[in-house]
């Protein structure tokens, strides 16, 4: 069985600094796969490489067995990859639900002609996108903001809104970059449930996260990065007992 996401010998240098160096791993479809490591270990850089925002210096990324070299982020989205950001990327010039409807972009079949004359086909398309977006907002737990401006939402709600937007694209794999950062304990628990729900639907989840309790609880496998290199890879149980990981984290 081929992996959904496969990374081979990935390297990214910014000038002389190797943010990611010789990283290889594979994510099977349906897994919750987490990337952990101290600050500056290259986790976000790795995500930016996988989602096409950065171009690798060396190495290869395969999505469903196909090389993603030279593919733009929007082309990766067409192939079923979606993500959220550590520094949230919400369109504050739009309403909350419009942000989620934006996620339906690839599913909508409107052209300039149907748009300019606002033909019934477009209106039907828009109504279904609106309905789906409202469902998703309910699903991620920010249903009360359906009629709100994005700028009127709380931090925690915006984080969930970003997940709803990514889900709106019907992704095969969703990459969440520190979704629990800045959330309180209750919100984190709700997030854990949400990630489980998403994974149970068959969507592969890749996660960068600092909250160890959250990560150890929901991950099928983990990748530990340190100074851009792979320190360890395995199941939560293997990682917990790995002496290198203990040394890096506990300074032993």
């Amino acid at each position: 069985m081929t992996a959904l996401v496969e990374v081979k010998g990935l390297d990214k240098a910014f000038g002389g600094v190797h943010a990611v160096e010789g990283v290889s791993f594979a994510v099977e479809a349906g897994q919750v796969y987490s990337v952990i490591g101290p600050n500056g270990a290259g986790k976000t850089t790795l995500f930016n490489l996988i989602t096409g925002l950065y171009i690798p210096t060396k190495g290869e990324i395969l999505l469903n067995g196909e090389s993603t070299a030279r593919l733009e982020p929007n082309q990766l989205a067409e192939r079923g990859m979606c993500r959220t950001f550590q520094q949230m990327q919400i369109c504050m010039n739009m309403t909350a639900i419009e942000n989620v409807m934006l996620g339906r972009h690839l599913q909508l079949k409107s052209n300039l002609f149907t748009t300019l004359f606002r033909l019934p086909a477009l209106r039907r398309d828009e109504e279904s996108a609106y309905k789906r977006a409202a469902e998703l907002m309910e699903y991620v737990g920010c249903g009360e903001y359906v009629g709100a401006e994005a700028s009127a939402m709380s931090y925690g709600a915006l984080k969930r809104l970003e997940i709803a937007r990514a889900l709106a694209a019907d992704p095969k794999v969703i990459l969440l970059d520190e979704p629990a950062a800045g959330l309180n304990a209750t919100e984190t628990a709700a997030l854990e449930d949400l990630i489980r729900k998403i994974a149970d639907q068959g969507v592969t989840v890749m996660l960068v996260e600092h909250d160890m309790k959250l990560v150890m609880g929901i991950s099928d496998r983990l990748l530990v990065l340190n100074y851009g290199r792979v320190l360890a890879e395995g199941t939560p149980e293997e990682i917990r007992q790995n002496p290198d990981v203990i040394a890096a984290y506990l300074g032993g």
């Binding site: 989602t51 925002l53 733009e72 982020p73 929007n74 990766l76 989205a77 067409e78 979606c82 993500r83 950001f85 990327q89 919400i90 369109c91 504050m92 010039n93 739009m94 419009e98 409807m101 934006l102 996620g103 339906r104 972009h105 690839l106 909508l108 409107s110 300039l112 748009t115 300019l116 004359f117 606002r118 477009l122 398309d125 828009e126 109504e127 996108a129 609106y130 359906v146 009629g147 937007r165 990514a166 709106a168 694209a169």
Partner: protein
């Protein structure tokens, strides 16, 4: 919710139509009609520019270049080569769209000041060509443009027409024509904005990276809106040429580009009806301040600055916010 949204969308258009219908009651002489017709044509141009600037967040300081190209193409095709007006307008718009697409691809990769500079340069190049190709354009002295005609039926500001049995003057006929054009331009713009395409455009402004990771081809949409706004400018330039009956390279000048941008910023970036108000205010201002004509450019600069500082959202959105706040306060006080 969605229904209410769509109703409010068309409400604005209906109010605009109502204003355009009532307005002639306050217009006394041909000069008034001329001014208002110019306003309508310029407003439609700015509605198009607002799609680029207000919604997609891309600056163009060279839009008068596209306006001027449209004006001159119509002028030359109908005047020198005897084409009918409508094909001239359309072919001109297609040509301008092509030019916008070709120059747009590379320059829309630029951001902020660099994009402004590049569009500025495009506008300058067009103005220089219009100034220097004397054989074709008449150079700085300008050129006459024949009256607008459809199927041999001429629309001249000096003609006399009967509309459903009502005798009207040529300038009144032009006013009606320009009003319909403006309404259609606004309708198209509103339809575009409230659509997946419009959402993609606004997301380019809101967060380009967010747009790209959900599958929006941001480069394509930036080009698309640049081309659409250039088509608006070209068509309106062509109409303007026919209406004025005489054009000079000033229609493609830097000052004109700045005027367009000032209308967008003053009226309210991203507010279709706001930018129409911006166009009206800035067309009226020189009439009110006729004694300070040489200070016009200074005025526009000052308006641009003051708007940016004191009401960055623009005139109409700011006013609407004040009114709705007052109304809410009133309602709150009574409750």
């Amino acid at each position: 919710m969605l229904n209410r949204f769509m109703q409010s969308r068309l409400r604005g258009l209906m109010i605009l139509a109502l204003i355009l219908i009532i307005l002639p009651a306050f217009l006394g002489n041909p000069f008034h009609y001329e001014l208002v017709t110019q306003m309508a044509i310029i407003a439609a141009t700015v509605v198009g520019l607002n799609l680029l600037v207000g919604f997609a967040g891309q600056i163009s300081l060279g839009h008068a270049g596209f306006f001027g190209l449209g004006a001159y193409f119509s002028g030359i095709a109908t005047g020198t080569y005897g084409w009918p007006s409508v094909p001239a307008l359309l072919v001109g718009a297609i040509l301008v769209a092509l030019i916008a697409w070709i120059v747009g691809r590379p320059i829309l990769r630029l951001k902020g000041h660099y994009l402004s500079m590049a569009t500025l340069a495009v506008g300058f190049i067009i103005a220089i060509i219009l100034n220097n190709e004397r054989a074709l354009t008449g150079g700085p002295d300008g050129m006459p443009v024949p009256a607008f005609e459809v199927f041999g039926w001429e629309l001249s500001a000096f003609g006399r027409y009967s509309l459903f049995g009502l005798e009207i003057e040529g300038f009144q006929a032009w006013y009606i024509f320009a009003s319909v054009v403006l309404l259609v331009a606004v309708w198209f713009a509103l339809n575009l904005i409230e659509s997946p395409i419009g959402r993609a455009l606004r997301s380019v402004h809101g967060s380009e990276v967010a747009a790209s990771v959900v599958g929006v081809n941001t480069a394509k949409y930036k080009s698309l809106v640049f081309v659409i706004s250039a088509i608006y400018a070209s068509l309106m330039g062509g109409l303007y040429a026919h209406f004025q009956g005489f054009i000079t390279p000033a229609v493609a000048s830097f000052e004109f580009s700045i005027l367009f941008i000032t209308m967008v910023v003053l009226g309210g970036m991203g507010s279709t009806f706001g930018v129409i108000l911006g166009a009206v205010v800035l067309k009226l201002l020189p009439q009110v301040l006729a004694d300070f004509q040489e200070l016009e450019t200074v005025m526009f600069g000052l308006i641009l600055m003051l708007t940016m500082i004191f009401m960055p959202k623009g005139l109409l959105p700011t006013l609407t916010a004040i009114v709705s706040k007052r109304m809410r306060k009133k309602a709150g006080g009574e409750a």
